[in-house]
């Protein structure tokens, strides 16, 4: 009953009630699923097979599964997390410097330099200055690109 391409309904856990497709059979108990659920390993006892079977290759990528699911008109769970937005921090007039120092400590812990820059931009609440802040750190290319991704949907 369980085979590659079989559409199933997940019946246990956080994704219960969502449809998925079997992408790979890992061993006697476990299969790899993808679709409206997260792409993950799953015990097939946590799946209820339906009559539908779609044509996909064994070990198909998420994009291939997404295409097939769009044909069927089913929603697709994209496992990429949402772009993290800046956490609003309370700004107090007198303790502004102290707040900056505090945020600096956080940076050291997390190893990220963007939040402080963003925070400064948000304090001034100017789009132009935000753009400037993006252009300022050219050393960290990966992180700056992330920031641009963050900025684009907003």
């Amino acid at each position: 009953m369980i085979e590659v391409g079989r559409i199933c309904v997940k019946i246990a856990g956080r994704d219960a009630g969502r449809k998925c497709v079997v992408v790979d059979i890992l061993d006697d108990n476990f299969v790899l699923i993808d679709g409206s659920t997260r792409r993950r390993k799953c015990n097939f006892r946590h799946l209820e097979p339906t009559a539908e079977v779609i044509k996909i290759k064994k070990g198909a990528s998420h994009e291939e599964v997404a295409k097939e699911f769009e044909k069927l008109g089913l929603p697709v769970w994209n496992t990429k997390p949402k772009p993290s937005s800046e956490r609003p921090r309370k700004q107090r007039g007198k303790r502004k410097k102290a707040g900056q120092e505090g945020s600096g400590k956080d940076e050291k812990k997390k190893g990220k330099k963007e939040p402080a820059v963003k925070a400064e931009a948000s304090k001034d609440s100017g789009k132009e200055e935000k753009a400037e802040s993006q252009s300022q750190p050219p050393e960290q290319e990966g992180q700056s690109s992330e920031e641009q991704q963050d900025g684009s949907p907003q």
Partner: protein
């Protein structure tokens, strides 16, 4: 203030730092949450006073699954199988 002899509170014996055993009156906890289908006590739902439940995060108050905190896992699974076979 309510009377110290009030039946609405539970009696608890506590040892004081001085070695004396004193009697305390503690608020009774509410009944454990039960499955709406089978009546089994639900797991993952803390048995706390409403004042304490209010300050807990949402994820600490019920399991993160459909019907979490309302149906037990086995009843939810039966429901999902039923829905899938329709």
């Amino acid at each position: 203030m309510t009377s110290e002899k009030s039946r609405s509170k539970r009696i608890v014996a506590r040892k004081t730092p001085g070695g004396r055993v004193s009697v305390r009156r503690v608020a009774r906890k509410p009944e454990a949450a039960k499955c709406a289908e089978c009546g089994k006590p639900l797991k993952g739902v803390p048995r706390e006073l409403p004042s304490k439940m209010r300050n807990l995060p949402k994820t600490a108050k019920r399991p993160e699954r459909p019907f979490g905190g309302y149906l037990c896992s086995s009843c939810m699974r039966k429901l999902m199988v039923k829905k899938a076979r329709e």
